[in-house]
């Protein structure tokens, strides 16, 4: 059995302390809901509220993006940060969206909360923190995906991913059993599942995906990389993006979204988690990351520090493509 309850106590007392001594205006964490198998996000402003913070296998929402709502604030915000949150924070720092001194990070190494979503995750311990609440011993290997041997997907798994799509698992996150297997899979298992398809199968696969997309932009809202003040899809005169709900315009949106985040994605999986239609969005972005790795022959993991350069967005005299 895990030690969620001891760790939960550490979160509560650290949050209480930060609120009591005025280090932060509030602490972002999770709180229970009236459904036992579901948590919600809590902005704890008082010590009493801090006692309502929870830490369990239902803490699926990633919290990093909430910092963006306070990017203009002159106060500091506390946040419980697992591997994914910490990489989201680095992402926001790299993109100059938040100020490091206005975020107080409570590092919370994570065992992996969701069988499907966390299966490819190599960085479950935080990479940046102000205070590490407990050490990462016993966690899956961190510090670079090459340390962990990728597990090859068997046919059944591929079929399984496809099946999840054919019947979008709306609300699947609520009904997930507690003792799910969150052990490591291949980092790119989502992309690899699709790579196995023939060209014709891929076409029909993506046709199906884009026919289902309802263009709610929940993926954008949840994504820590989507930090633009104005998103191109909201602009009335952005000529190449139609507003119609059609598979063709959905496809333009899907491909554009993937390229907008491609080289900056921290692979937190929030896009897939929040998608009400259960579409395989992260796999799409990860395919691009996989291509970057194939092109450079080097590991490409974003969010590991706040100073990294974006692969697709930097000019270098040694660029192979001398378009200028």
């Amino acid at each position: 059995m895990n030690n969620f309850s001891q760790q939960q106590q550490k979160i509560r007392s650290a949050a209480s302390r930060l609120l009591a001594d005025g280090t932060v205006r509030f602490v972002i964490g999770w709180a229970p809901t009236r459904f036992a198998e579901r948590t919600t996000v809590l902005f704890a402003h008082t010590e009493a509220e801090a006692q309502a913070l929870v830490w369990n296998a239902h803490c699926t929402a990633a919290l990093g993006k909430y910092l963006l709502d306070h990017r203009l604030a002159d106060y500091a915000v506390g946040i419980v940060a697992r591997g994914c949150e910490s990489r989201m924070i680095n992402r926001l720092l790299t993109d100059h969206q938040i100020w490091r001194e206005r975020v107080y990070i409570l590092g919370a190494p994570c065992p992996g909360m969701d069988a499907e979503r966390c299966a490819g995750c190599r960085e479950r311990a935080p990479v940046v923190w102000d205070e590490l609440l407990w050490d990462a011993d016993g966690m899956p290997e961190t510090g670079g995906r090459q340390d962990a041997a990728p597990t090859n997907l068997d046919e059944a798994t591929i079929a399984d991913v496809g099946a999840g799509l054919a019947l979008p698992a709306v609300g699947a996150a609520c009904s997930r059993p507690l003792d799910t297997d969150t052990s490591l899979r291949s980092r790119f298992f989502r992309a690899e599942a699709v790579e196995g398809l023939s060209a014709a199968e891929k076409f029909s696969y993506w046709d199906e995906v884009y026919a289902k997309c309802i263009r709610c932009y929940a993926c954008r809202q949840a994504c820590p990389v989507c930090s633009c003040r104005a998103c191109y899809v909201d602009m009335d005169r952005q000529g190449f993006q139609g507003k119609q709900h059609s598979a063709a315009d959905n496809r333009v949106f899907g491909v554009t979204r993937a390229f907008h985040v491609a080289d900056r994605c921290v692979e937190c999986g929030e896009c897939e988690r929040v998608c009400p239609m259960g579409l395989p969005i992260l796999g799409q972005t990860q395919k691009l990351i996989k291509e970057i790795e194939a092109l450079t022959g080097e590991a490409y993991v974003q969010g590991m520090d706040a100073e990294e350069e974006n692969f697709l967005g930097a000019f270098d005299l040694d660029d192979k493509d001398d378009f200028l």
């Binding site: 002159d74 100059h96 633009c228 003040r229 104005a230 998103c231 191109y232 000529g239 005299l317």
Partner: protein
């Protein structure tokens, strides 16, 4: 109503022979917003331009589309024309129906259809064009010349004589470059040093010229009119202000290093001047070989120096200076044939030398005082083989170009051998003999009359047999293999761009072609300019050439630099990017991708939402640095940064027009 005028050019028959220009004009008349369309034989000519101006006046045209050659050819011509008309010169679009249509299509029907498409796109875009206005920036009235060979020297003297301050930067300890290594110059056979050293002295004495030797360009910021150049002064270890160049130190230095200047045919000390007539005429210490600097021993030069000039603690220094114009004269090097030609012995035979080594051998101030001898044993060679196009004109060796000067200096070498060694025999292996230059053919002819034997063919192999070098090759006129037993073989090797030229040019924003030669802005009409404003090319950095062409080009580059420096301020293109700060989220994607360093993030403090003094990053554009390339506009996911004259909405309008 847009009141657009469309003018279709025939370009003589260039366009009209493939494209049905009348049909294009007729189709243009039907397009929305077009008030007038006409065609004419040469739109760029005086009557052509007048015809456009008349039509503007007569029909009240507000925007102009010209269907003609590439905008790179005549866009500026037509912009200048529009200045006389009252129509803003940026309400102009060029539909390129020559390079993109008539020159690449043969089927008239298809070509005409495509030309109509391009005109329709240009009409759609011009309707969205906005009037733009050029701004101006002040010019720093000082030129930098990079490279102190004959090209750099000539350019610097010309600019200085025109009354402008010039700094000449040379990475070697002396100016002079390759020309001072040569013995005599074709076709007049005047002594190379005798005509170049006086120019070098003029340089050092000129009140407008500052000479920087042992210097490199470390970094460049800025743009035309205002380049801020970080100059790296390499340590000389000799106080150049006090040193009189007495030469005591050079005599006493115990170190012997192969002299690069003499192509390894002699030695020089570790404290040395490049050659006796070096400018400045003061020695420097070669830090790689000095015993004091490498092993902390010796120190003889310090002891013998009567003035205490030696400073072993000297260090490299970097400092910034600002220049208005830059002339790149980085010159050439000879290709390393030893790495390319195993069949010629790859450097194993001492008596197979390159042309520049021969120049040192035959030079009166060279290691042998002008006696042509074999490097191996000092004997006078009786049979000499000259091999042309070693490296040059050989795509298999990676150098497809003709080095241009070698035909003539091979003839000169043949002449010098026949003159200096009585009874000598000279064989010249060649592919072609190219002598396009004043008095060149005559010189070549004389060399053959002197007795040089020209063999048309390449040498396939050089090997040693009985102490002599056997040059085997095909005489392709006879269709026979020939073998010549030679005492000395001179390889007239290919010129290649000087090491580091591409990198130095890149610092200034100038580019190099696939072979590494610096790229001129237009091969015919702008041969001394580069794509980077205010950066000009002189001499062999741009491509192989001989001394007369080098000097002529250097004066051309100087004229361009003088023209720029004569102005107090200059107009900048208004077709640069602009940032919509309301949309900009300050992510910096544009900053990382800008090749010109024109963009930066700055903190904007403003009231926003519920925050009184919210701080956030926004992108700022340096109008002087932005070249309008548009790389940032595609990096910006929001479209907060947009290129004036090529706004996203204008381009989308063009694309829409293609599909409607």
């Amino acid at each position: 109503m847009s009141r657009i005028g469309v003018f279709v050019c025939h370009c003589g028959t260039n366009l009209a022979s493939v494209v049905d220009v009348e049909k294009v004009a007729a189709a243009a008349r039907e397009l929305p917003g077009v008030s007038y369309a006409a065609e004419y034989k040469y739109m760029c000519s005086e009557p052509g331009q007048q015809m456009i101006l008349d039509a503007i006046a007569e029909h009240g045209l507000k925007r102009i589309v010209i269907a003609s050659c590439s905008p790179r050819m005549h866009e500026t011509t037509f912009r200048k024309m529009l200045k006389k008309s009252g129509v803003n010169e940026y309400l102009l679009e060029i539909a390129n129906i020559r390079e993109q249509v008539s020159w690449v299509h043969t089927d008239s029907g298809v070509a005409t259809e495509k030309a109509v498409d391009l005109v329709r796109m240009a009409v759609a875009k011009v309707a969205k064009d906005e009037p733009l206005k050029a701004s101006s920036i002040p010019i720093t009235k000082r030129a930098l010349v990079v490279g102190g060979g004959i090209a750099g020297i000539q350019a610097a003297l010309d600019i200085a004589d025109a009354g402008h301050e010039v700094w000449l930067l040379e990475r070697e300890p002396s100016i002079g470059g390759r020309m001072v290594m040569l013995d005599k110059t074709f076709p007049t056979l005047d002594c190379s040093a005798c005509i170049s050293t006086p120019k070098m002295v003029d340089m050092s004495a000129h009140p407008n010229i500052k000479l920087l030797t042992s210097c490199e360009v470390a970094a460049v910021r800025g743009y035309i009119g205002n380049f801020t150049v970080t100059i790296r002064q390499k340590a000389k270890y000799v106080n150049q202000d006090i040193c009189t160049g007495c030469g005591n130190c050079e005599e006493k230095c115990p170190v012997k290093v192969k002299s690069d200047f003499n192509k390894g045919l002699s030695d020089r000390p570790a404290i040395y001047r490049l050659f006796p007539q070096a400018v400045p005429a003061k020695p420097v210490i070669d830090r790689a070989h000095c015993l004091k600097l490498t092993k902390d021993r010796c120190g003889l030069c310090e002891k013998v120096c009567p003035l205490g000039c030696i400073d072993y603690a000297d260090e490299d220094r970097e400092y910034d200076e600002t220049f208005g114009a830059v002339v790149l004269a980085t010159g050439y090097g000879l290709c390393d044939w030893t790495a390319m030609y195993d069949e010629y012995g790859a450097g194993r035979f001492a008596d197979v030398i390159d042309g520049l080594a021969f120049e040192r051998l035959v030079n009166a101030s060279g290691p042998t005082e002008g006696h042509i001898v074999r490097p191996s044993d000092g004997a006078e060679p009786k049979t000499v083989v000259l091999v042309k196009c070693v490296g040059s004109r050989d795509p298999k060796k990676g150098k497809p170009w003709c080095s241009r000067a070698c035909c003539m200096y091979a003839a000169k070498h043949a002449h010098q051998i026949l003159e200096k060694i009585p009874g000598a025999r000279v064989f010249v292996f060649y592919i072609d003999v190219r002598t396009p230059g004043k008095n060149y053919e005559e010189f070549y002819d004389q060399t053959r009359k002197d007795g040089a034997v020209y063999v048309r063919g390449r040498v396939s192999r050089i090997y040693k047999e009985g102490g002599r070098l056997i040059c085997q090759g095909e005489d392709s006129l006879l269709g026979k293999q020939v073998r010549v037993a030679a005492d000395l073989v001179v390889l007239e090797t290919a010129m290649e761009p000087a090491a580091g030229a591409r990198e130095t040019a890149a610092l200034f924003g100038a580019s190099a072609d696939a072979n590494g030669w610096l790229q001129e802005a237009h091969p015919k009409l702008r041969p001394v300019e580069t794509q980077a404003g205010g950066v000009f090319l002189a001499g062999t950095c741009q491509g192989p050439k001989d001394i007369p062409d080098t000097v002529a080009q250097a004066s051309g580059a100087a004229a361009k630099a003088i023209g720029l420096l004569n102005k107090d301020e200059m107009e900048t293109s208004p077709m640069i990017v602009a940032v919509d700060e309301a949309k900009c989220s300050g992510c910096g994607a544009c900053v990382d991708i800008c090749p010109f360093g024109a963009l930066s993030l700055e903190i904007l403090t403003a009231r926003e939402g519920r925050w009184e003094r919210a701080e956030r990053f926004v992108c700022k554009v340096n109008a002087g640095l932005c070249q309008g390339c548009g790389a940032c506009t595609v990096a910006c996911r929001t479209g907060a940064i947009d290129l004036r004259g090529f706004r996203n909405v204008q381009i989308l309008e063009e694309i829409d027009a293609l599909w409607t």
